[in-house]
């Protein structure tokens, strides 16, 4: 059938979106669970948790993912028990829920590529279901399959789910059954939109057995519906019976006006007032007062009675201002709820490659803009120059805005570690307090994605090797609970991520012994302290006495370092034996465009990231003679500043000009100077990666094309800084390559 085909194609198209959303919900459940462990009584967290589970179940139902629906149903039941206060969250329960969440994640993941589950997976899930049912105190009489999860009025708790609370009045048409529709199924579907805290059926509308035509439908319901869904979505649930049912939706916060309108709209339902009382929409006092008034009016006027609704409204004492405020609030809620449906924040999902395309084009635009500005300056026409400057500043704004689109806060990645820390610490029998600082720090999405794995490894390492068990800690006079902190902040144009633990620190003797054993350092040679720590990043290094299954998975710290360096980042480790370790990762904010400071040496152009430039000073005579690689020092305000000559370092064969300048660069905690010939000012720099030949270059992080078509090399201030401080020797290869590379690039 055509419809069936349409359904299939709809599901095929929408399924990936469902999966990505469901995965987000699963993530949210995990975070909420972990938060709830710290604040087990937090009602809002519980409600949010229930909502997430419900959303997953509801949308899985739409896609016919029965396994997800069936399983999530049990989770939901347990959460509902927690919400009703019938159960309280114990650590065991929370572990169970986290395991169930993992199960949901697996089930959702399987939805895209359905595969037959093996017996182990099935029995694992069945075991979880058993534990869930046991935990929720379900008895054998309870429905084994997910029954429509509407709740009867009898079990209704007060509405307080935090979701907008609608009131729904529906009277099914007499032909409903004969048209093949089942109100039971429809209500079951509606219940999946949210939850039905209260429901009343107009039983008196059903004729007695001797009078009833069993194939005619006489069912009418009044119920509350707590749902984030929009009016359209609720109405859509009734779409199959829409033509012959009477449906009224009273939006949240409509107050008595809404019920009054409903009562007016259904004059043929004399028991409506009672039903509204039954579902808690109006209080009995309000109703009886209104009825009394209606009778009195009738007696006095002998005319048609005032509609009950009108009286209710007049008597409820709601001032028009209040009504107006309620309406405004409702409008706001609706507009907020409409686009995303369930999201508190409004997001547009954009495919990453479309965004990349825009950013690439923007890069070209920046280059073209710079070229146009250059030409304009050459014409010396002030109006043209001015116009170009305006274009330039607009391009800059667009650039900033566009790059902002790619920025995500690192908090999401950090919070993923919460679970890792919890489980790992439990597995190792350690008590660990995990703290996240600066989660709101933003950086490029592609950087975030690629830093997650190295970070994970470092966090596991800290838990496994760094932090001691409670007994060990107490024995060494520390509090029993270990502390692991993950922090992020911006620092001079890069992001600084720190992993800090207060564990036993790194044992330098053992590192050194291992390095000697592995031949990383010549036997008997003792390098300076900080160099010893660096050895842990060398390939094939592992200090753990036994390789645990946590951090010894064959991925060494050398891989971590390589991954970080591939992002133009650096990693440094600091450690106080006995007091803990600190690992610092410094990463560029973005991989695409930076604000650069353009300088010239001879015929070559170089770019420093603007954020790292502190000041520029007039050249003064060096107080030491430069070494073969151009390193020397100058005096700056009474302090010694190491400086580097680009000319010597890269062997640029041009004559030294009379005047040279020193650009003072800040890299991490120290500063150094770079001697250059000319200062060419600020320049928006589109970073182009270096060709494969030049990847291994130290001191260079990329290249850029100037407006004039010239190529400028972008300097990597961190590795230059290490080189200046003498920590790293510039391999001869790099010098030649830089020189040769530069020429090649200029020619091309």
């Amino acid at each position: 059938m055509n419809n069936a085909e349409m359904d299939t194609s709809f599901i095929r198209e929408a399924l990936p979106a469902f999966i990505s959303e469901a995965q987000e919900q699963v993530e949210a459940i995990e975070q909420l669970m972990l938060q709830l462990e710290d604040a087990p009584a937090d009602r809002e967290l519980l409600d949010a948790l229930f909502r997430c589970a419900h959303t997953v179940k509801g949308s899985a139902g739409i896609f016919g993912l029965d396994a997800v629906v069936a399983f999530t149903h049990h989770v939901e039941t347990l959460l509902d028990r927690l919400r009703d206060g019938k159960l309280s969250l114990t650590p065991a329960l929370s572990t169970l829920l986290l395991q169930c969440n993992d199960q949901i994640r697996i089930l959702v993941g399987n939805a895209l590529a359905p595969q037959d589950e093996d017996a182990d997976a099935l029995s694992a899930r069945a075991a979880l279901v058993d534990r869930l049912r046991l935990a929720s105190g379900e008895t054998a009489t309870a429905a084994p399959t997910p029954a429509p999860d509407a709740h009867a009025a009898a079990s209704a708790g007060p509405a307080g789910s935090g979701m907008p609370s609608w009131h729904v009045s529906v009277q099914f048409g007499t032909e409903t059954f004969r048209n093949g529709m089942d109100p039971l199924a429809i209500l079951g579907y509606v219940a999946r939109l949210g939850s039905i805290p209260r429901l009343a059926c107009d039983l008196e509308a059903i004729p007695a057995l001797q009078d009833i035509d069993p194939e005619s439908c006489h069912l009418a319901f009044q119920f509350g519906l707590d749902t984030p869904a929009s009016r359209d979505e609720i109405e859509a649930a009734f779409s199959f019976v829409r033509d012959d049912c009477v449906l009224h939706l009273i939006p949240p916060d409509a107050g008595h006006t809404g019920y009054a309108a409903l009562i007016d709209a259904l004059p043929d339902q004399p028991r409506l007032g009672d039903l509204l009382v039954a579902v808690g929409a109006v209080t009995p006092e309000q109703l009886s007062k209104a009825l009394a008034r209606q009778d009195a009016d009738k007696a006095r006027n002998d005319g048609p009675a005032r509609p009950l609704g009108e009286i209710l409204q007049a008597d409820s004492g709601v001032s028009s201002q209040v009504v107006e405020a309620a309406l405004n609030k409702q409008t706001r809620q609706r507009s907020a709820a409409a686009p995303a449906g369930s999201d508190d924040n409004r997001f547009i999902r954009v495919q990453a490659d479309r965004l990349d395309l825009v950013i690439n084009l923007l890069g070209e635009l920046v280059i073209a803009g710079a070229g146009a500005a250059l030409l304009a300056r050459q014409t010396r026409q002030s109006s043209l120059i001015e116009a170009n400057e305006q274009i330039g500043s607009l391009i800059e704004e667009i650039r900033n805005g566009t790059l902002q689109l790619r920025m995500v806060s690192i908090g999401e990645t950090f919070s993923r570690f919460r679970r890792v820390v919890r489980d790992t610490a439990a597995e190792l029998g350690k008590d660990v307090q995990f703290e996240v600082v600066g989660g709101e720090t933003e950086l490029d999405k592609s950087v975030v994605e690629r830093i997650a794995d190295p970070l994970m490894h470092l966090v596991r390492n800290a838990l496994d090797h760094g932090l001691e068990t409670a007994t060990e800690r107490l024995a060494s006079g520390k509090p029993g609970q270990g502390k692991l902190t993950l922090s992020a902040c911006h620092e001079s144009g890069s992001i600084l991520i720190r992993i800090i633990d207060d564990g036993r620190g790194i044992n330098r003797e053992r590192v050194l012994a291992r390095a000697w054993e592995r031949g990383l350092v010549e036997e008997g040679v003792t390098p300076p302290d900080e160099d010893i720590l660096k050895l842990i990043f060398e390939a094939g290094f592992s200090t753990a006495e036994k390789v645990t299954n946590l951090s010894g998975r064959g991925v060494g710290m050398d891989v971590v370092r390589r991954n970080i360096e591939a992002l133009r980042g650096t990693v440094t480790v600091y450690s106080d034996p006995g007091a803990g370790s600190r690992i610092e990762i410094r990463l560029p904010l973005t991989l695409a465009i930076i604000d650069g400071f353009l300088v010239g040496v001879g015929n070559s152009k170089f770019i420093f990231p603007l954020e790292s430039v502190v000041e520029v000073i007039e050249s003064r005579s060096a107080i030491s003679t430069p070494d073969a690689q151009g390193r020397s020092v100058v005096e700056l305000r009474g302090r010694v500043l190491p400086v580097l000559s680009m000319r010597t370092l890269y062997g640029l064969e041009t004559d030294e000009p009379e005047r040279i300048s020193v650009v003072v660069i800040k890299s991490g905690s120290h500063s150094y100077g770079v001697m250059v010939d000319v200062l060419l000012g600020q320049h928006q720099t589109v970073i182009k990666p270096l060709g494969r030949m030049f990847r291994s270059l130290r001191g260079m992080s990329g290249s850029s094309i100037l407006g004039s078509g010239e190529v400028a090399l972008i300097l990597d201030v961190n590795s230059l800084g290490e080189f200046v401080a003498g920590k790293q020797s510039a391999p001869a290869k790099s010098r030649d390559a830089a020189n040769g590379g530069h020429k090649t690039l200029v020619r091309s």
Partner: protein, 108 residues
């Protein structure tokens, strides 16, 4: 469908639109065969066998409840199966389980 004991009505396995007409006939026959019970005595309806139920079936049960109510004999659903229980909850007819089927709307 035919009552085994004079005072208990056993519900059929299928309580849906497909069997509604015949179920109604059977129940009317049961009511007729049932000797006038004492006023106020609870009429037990055994729901253990029900495994398929839809809204029309529940509506029919509510209609029976109403008839019995008019005879001052509250209907009480006993041994309700899981599907029946679920349907009662979903349709706000839990009163059937409590022998006070017209609690809602009784005072209008």
């Amino acid at each position: 469908m035919t009552p085994t004991t004079p005072s208990a009505l056993h519900l059929p396995a299928e309580l849906t639109i497909y069997t509604a007409t015949e179920t109604r006939q059977a129940w009317l026959a049961w009511l007729a065969a049932e000797p006038e019970a004492q006023e106020g005595s609870v009429c037990r309806v055994d729901g253990a066998a029900v495994d398929q139920v839809d809204a029309s079936g529940m509506q029919l049960l509510a209609a029976l409840s109403r008839t019995l109510h008019e005879q001052q004999r509250p209907l009480q659903l006993v041994h309700a199966s899981a599907p029946l229980l679920g349907a009662c909850r979903a349709l706000g007819m839990t009163a059937l389980l409590q022998g006070d089927s017209l609690a809602t709307g009784d005072t209008a």
